[in-house]
């Protein structure tokens, strides 16, 4: 038995490593811890504050560990009116969905957990549509007025945001002529797609902010009116899961943006090993992207739900269709065929 397990591990070492360490579970958890800490420190600096300092000798780097440990040991409260099975199910499922999306992202030549035989971008979007569903379940199961309003706002926003995002990435698909993320990255070794697809990128980026529910689109968890939106009733470890889901979602969509528009793991060669080089550039681009997201977070007001939905349907959707047309025309002129 043991031998069989060992031989299984030996045979599939690379896959198991990718699932459990990089770019799988450990990387995702590590990113969540880093991102929350980085957000708190970076935003604090913009607010002329220090952020966490004393926990951990330098820079408060243990702060998130302390928070997580505390949340794990806190009492779990299930509201009397809540639907308990769904309440627990939502809190477990929510971080899983964006984590599954990450499995499709190539981190380096050949370094991708699930190679989806050429349709990985479509599968990415297919999985991403599950997120609002579970998000609604979490709000509905808690049976609190604030959570229910938050859940329904989540639906409005996701529908208004996801369709433009999908149409914008169709522009990329047409330009690259493939559905495969790895193929898209390889084609960008000469020129990043943000240049030929600039209009599409703008649409994608605004829709992307709506998908990750950050300012100016943090409408479902609008703290000034809805306390914590769909998360209001969650305690302890379940709340930890919710926070994690939030940041894993950010990670998944940011990685997709990098892959589609900013050349993925392509970059000047610094390390001799192409795999390490790819990972280095991927993480560098990721850090720059989340810094930009956090800066937007602090400089803008939140939109109202009607303004956000209007922006999605009235501006982003026509622009994304226009982008597809422009892409077709441009490709026809340059390459003489689609």
């Amino acid at each position: 038995m043991l031998n069989e397990i060992l031989s299984f591990i030996n045979e599939n070492f690379q896959t198991l490593f990718m699932i459990s360490v990089f770019p799988g579970l450990s990387f995702v958890l590590g990113f969540v811890i880093f991102a929350v800490w980085y957000q708190r420190k970076y935003l604090a600096r913009l607010m002329i504050r220090m952020g966490p300092v004393h926990c951990g000798r330098r820079l408060g780097w243990l702060q998130l560990i302390a928070d997580a440990l505390k949340l794990i040991t806190k009492e779990l409260i299930f509201p009397k009116a809540a639907n308990k099975p769904l309440f627990i199910f939502a809190s477990i499922m929510l971080p899983v969905i964006p984590a599954a999306m990450i499995a499709l992202i190539p981190f380096a030549p050949g370094l991708v957990i699930y190679n989806a035989s050429g349709v990985s971008l479509l599968i990415f979007f297919a999985i991403s549509t599950l997120f609002p569903v579970v998000s609604v379940i979490r709000g509905w199961a808690a049976n609190n007025k604030f959570t229910i309003i938050g859940a329904f706002r989540n639906i409005y926003l996701d529908i208004a945001g996801e369709i433009p995002v999908f149409l914008a990435s169709i522009g990329v698909m047409i330009w690259a002529g493939t559905y495969d993320l790895n193929e898209i990255v390889i084609q960008q070794s000469g020129m990043w797609f943000v240049i030929p697809q600039f209009l599409g990128f703008i649409v994608f980026f605004i829709g992307f902010l709506a998908m990750i529910e950050k300012v100016p689109f943090d409408i479902p968890t609008a703290e000034t009116e809805l306390i914590y939106g769909p998360n209001t009733e969650y305690t302890g470890a379940m709340f930890l899961n919710m926070m994690e889901a939030d940041y894993v979602n950010v990670l998944a969509w940011t990685l997709l943006m990098i892959t589609l528009y900013f050349g993925g793991y392509n970059g000047p060669r610094i390390f001799p090993d192409p795999i390490i080089n790819g990972i280095f550039w991927m993480i560098t681009k990721l850090l720059i992207a989340i810094t930009i997201i956090f800066t937007i977070m602090i400089s803008y007001a939140r939109l109202r739900i009607d303004q956000a939905v209007r922006m999605g349907w009235n501006y982003l959707l026509p622009l994304s269709i226009l982008n597809i047309l422009l892409t077709l025309i441009l490709k026809y002129i340059m390459f003489g065929g689609v």
């Binding site: 935003l43 913009l46 309003i149 329904f152 000034t224 739900i305």
Partner: protein
Amino acid sequence: MSARIRGYSPFTEIEEVGDGLFRLNMGPQHPISGQGRFIVLTDGERVFDIEMDIGYSHRGIEKILEYKTFVQGIVPVERMVMLDTSNILMGYVGAVEKVLGIEPPPRANYIRTIVMEINRILSHLYALGLLSESAAWNPAVFLWTTADREPFLDLLEMLTGARWSYSFFVPGGVRADIPRGFVERLRKTLDWFEKRIEVYEEAWIYNELFRMRTEGMGVVSRQQAIEWGLAGPNLRASGVPYDTRKNEPYAAYGELDFKIVTHNAGDSYARGWARVEEMKVSVDIIRQALDNMPEGPVKTRMPPRPKPGEAFFRVETGRGEMNVYIVSDGKEKPYRVKISPASFRNFFAIEMLPKTQEILLADVPVLIYSFDPWFLDADR
């Protein structure tokens, strides 16, 4: 007493009302509620009614004042608004001076003016910070304003010995003269603060998304502002050029030259804008008061007992006009003190607005904080 309290729990009286409508309970524990409670009748997004439930910090100051002598009354009164203590206190002290029939010396008037204008700046900074925070959970501007209050608090501590509640005004003058080095430091702080106001205007007041959220929302017309009895910057943002400092000058305001900030739009944006403009006016007033400050004593003797009679005194606090009505029966304690603070009047508009125009749930915090509520002075 307490046993009865424990048996009673009205906190979650959320019942379904009508078809698809329900009441949402915001407060007294809610990120925006402060010490009040807003019962919002909504269908999920559109708001049909806001009912204000206040009194969560009611202390009965009006009753307590009947048990205190005129000077002892200073302590409870100034705890009505911590951010704005001297303006509030001026209302009480001014009314007491009227009852007693005394006049403070001119130097005291100028010192009072300076302290009151610093307090007004503190109060408006708070209003601006919370307005920005309510439009998004974006505490950057809020924390900048918190940081910018500190130099002024240091100055007040230098002058009076305390950061917020300093009981600095007494009937007949102020407690102490200006210390050495205060004037220079104040001038320096004002120079620096003028640059900060420009930063706020660029970062927040001219911010496109902030304007999208606030412009055209919560419009109070001039007629409504008068009928509902709004006060302060909220009244002036609706185009009524009323400022107690100009209309019924007290302290040294009659001798200084400043303008009344008015805006004709009457929406939430105008109310936020008016506060920024008033901070500029306050800086100007402090500069003038420093330039024109006369020499002399800062206090006159105060008679122990007033004549029987009544006095009505109005004062412009940071949140608007407050008036104090004192009835005296000739004893050393007041017979009746009626304090009508500005927030109490402004709250009425918050209740009325959803009935006159379309307000969405996301607008509720912005609407409330554009009126700059302070529950403690409404509750008294």
